[in-house]
Amino acid sequence: MNAPRKLAFVVEDDPESRRILRKYLEHLSFDVVEAATGKSALSLLEQRIRPALVCLDLILPELSGYEICEKIRASPRLATVPVLVVSARSMPPDRALAEELGANAYLVKPIRWKTFSQAVAELLPC
């Protein structure tokens, strides 16, 4: 093995989207940790992991993606982690809101390999 692989944290309630995100991220040589609800995502973030990238869906059970984004930015340990929002909402005002809450990039579902890999490359230049 070469250098330790980077960790990507996928927060997404839809299994099919999760599967695609995992596939893409593994292709980009990430280790992937998943959370299906906002609450489990938050407990994982608070205790154990410090990912290199967070892929965040906005519409989640319990806690929304907006709130998780705010929490990430508020935590000193996680404040600099790049957040990539993956959402079905596509209008300028939605995207502006995510940006104001601290998201670094925004992809509209359905995501495609090309746009996804480009966005990740921009967030984490190697």
Partner: protein
């Protein structure tokens, strides 16, 4: 209009498919009629269901169009086949295969052509974006992508201290365009006075800029400029807008006059048909007047005057020349003799008018070339008279709302005694027209204009 083209092609295809090739006449008109009705109604229903002609369809990919046409052709073919199967022997039935070729190919072609033309066309609307923050940047980006709007500039909210500027400039640079900021929030009125703007996008954060957003709405309403406010002003987590088609770009759109969309479309259609027909019918009059002007006075036949049209956009209004050449210059020396209050210049026995000019002015014949302006879309048949630029500079803010509709040949003022009415009252009448506009009122005004013109009442 697209629907009409498609229906016309369908109609021709039906007739062509039903026509006996040997004799070149359809054998059974009654049968043909019923079949046409069936096909047309299926087409209309299925396209309506699929939003084939909806306003948002312009940015749909060509592939989508082809898929839609496929589905619709399938529906139409089903009906035709059913008719073929069920119809008693001897009834005329269009040959299905023939119909398929004759209808679907031209429709697909016409749509492709339309898409091509639509993309080559210059953007339809000039848009002013208020704000330079994230919403403004993403909105401008979205508008550029849709290609139907051109952003003429951004106005800064007072809280936006320039930190947002580099990001905004970078987003424009990515599309090989340059970002223009036209001023600070305090300059909004000046900007709207100086630049033709078809719509103002108020791209602010409702929690940060609520007061200035409210002030912008007020200014737009006063000036009569359509505006749009973000439909997602608050954080929505799960909720979806019920009428998503109404906020296709994430904004709620407002107009300051009754937004009767169907009637507005009908009005434009009427303008095109009426002006084209009138120009054709009046061709002998045109030729005669042109000859007389040329023979009785030195100078060109038409007088092109620059006027201000819809949303403050300038255009050249055409008239038959009724004055001596250089009349605009002479006007300055006559200003003291103005007989109309306000910024408009009107005068009886104006020494600049030629003899034949007096006659054609009395019967408004000099205004006839404006039918060309109507056909071109600068003007409408009914609407407030377009002001000249100097006049507009003297307008008070509320009077600028006259520019919120397409200017016209005739309006309430023209049928209410014309030059006997003060400028102030004239403006009030125009506002009344704009606020209570409907297609029915337009026709009413047209009929009331006819006797005024024929008797030459109030003209000078």
């Amino acid at each position: 209009m697209n629907l009409f083209t498609d229906l016309a092609i369908l109609g021709i295809a039906i007739v062509a498919a039903a026509t006996d090739r040997a004799t070149l006449v359809p054998a059974d008109w009654v049968g043909l009629f019923w079949i046409s009705m069936a096909v047309v109604s299926i087409w209309v229903v299925s396209t309506a269901a699929l939003r084939h002609y909806s306003a948002q369809s312009y940015d749909r990919a060509a592939a989508d169009d082809i898929a839609l046409i496929g589905v619709q052709s399938a529906a139409v073919i089903t009906v035709l086949t059913l008719i073929e199967l069920l119809a008693p022997a001897g009834t005329l039935t269009p040959r299905t295969s023939q119909f398929l070729l004759m209808a679907s190919v031209p429709i697909a072609l016409s749509r492709r052509l339309f898409c091509l033309l639509a993309h080559r066309e210059t953007p339809l609307d000039d848009v002013l974006v208020v704000g330079i923050g994230p919403i403004a940047r993403l909105t401008a980006q979205d508008l550029r992508m849709r290609r139907r709007h051109r952003v003429v500039g951004h106005v800064r909210f007072s809280g936006e201290n320039g930190r947002e500027m580099p990001l905004l400039e970078r987003s424009y640079a990515l599309d090989q365009e340059t970002c223009v900021t036209v001023g600070d929030f305090a300059d909004l009125e000046r900007v709207l006075r100086g630049t033709p703007v078809d719509e103002v996008y108020i791209a602010g954060n409702a929690r940060k800029h609520s007061e200035e957003m409210q002030a912008t709405i007020g200014t737009c309403e006063k000036f009569g400029v359509p505006f749009a406010i973000p439909a997602y002003a608050f954080r929505l987590e799960r909720a979806q807008a019920v009428d998503a088609a109404a906020i296709a770009d994430g904004y709620l759109h407002y107009e300051t006059h009754p937004p009767r969309l169907q009637q507005q479309a009908m009005k434009r259609l009427f303008d095109i048909v009426a002006s084209a027909m009138a120009l054709w019918l009046l061709l002998p009059v045109f030729l005669m007047v042109m000859a007389i002007i040329k023979l009785t006075s030195r100078g060109p036949i038409f007088f092109k005057q620059s006027r201000v049209g819809l949303h403050g956009r300038g255009f050249n209004m055409l008239k038959f020349r009724s004055m001596v050449v250089g009349a605009e210059v002479l006007k300055r020396s006559l200003t003291a003799l103005n007989e109309q209050s306000g910024p408009v210049f009107k005068m009886r026995n104006d020494p600049r008018v030629t003899r034949f000019g007096r006659f054609i002015r009395k019967y408004s014949i000099d205004e006839l070339p404006q039918l060309i302006n109507v056909l071109r879309g600068d003007m409408s048949v009914v609407g407030p008279r377009p002001p000249v630029p100097e006049e507009l500079e003297k307008y008070e803010a509320w009077q600028r709302r006259r520019l919120s509709v397409r200017p016209g040949l005739t309006c309430i003022w023209q049928v209410s005694g014309r030059n006997q009415i003060s400028f102030e009252d004239w403006m009030v009448l125009d506002m009344q027209y704009i606020d209570h506009w409907s297609l029915g009122r337009d026709f009413n005004l047209i009929f009331r204009t006819i006797p005024v013109v024929l008797t030459g009442r109030g003209a000078s």
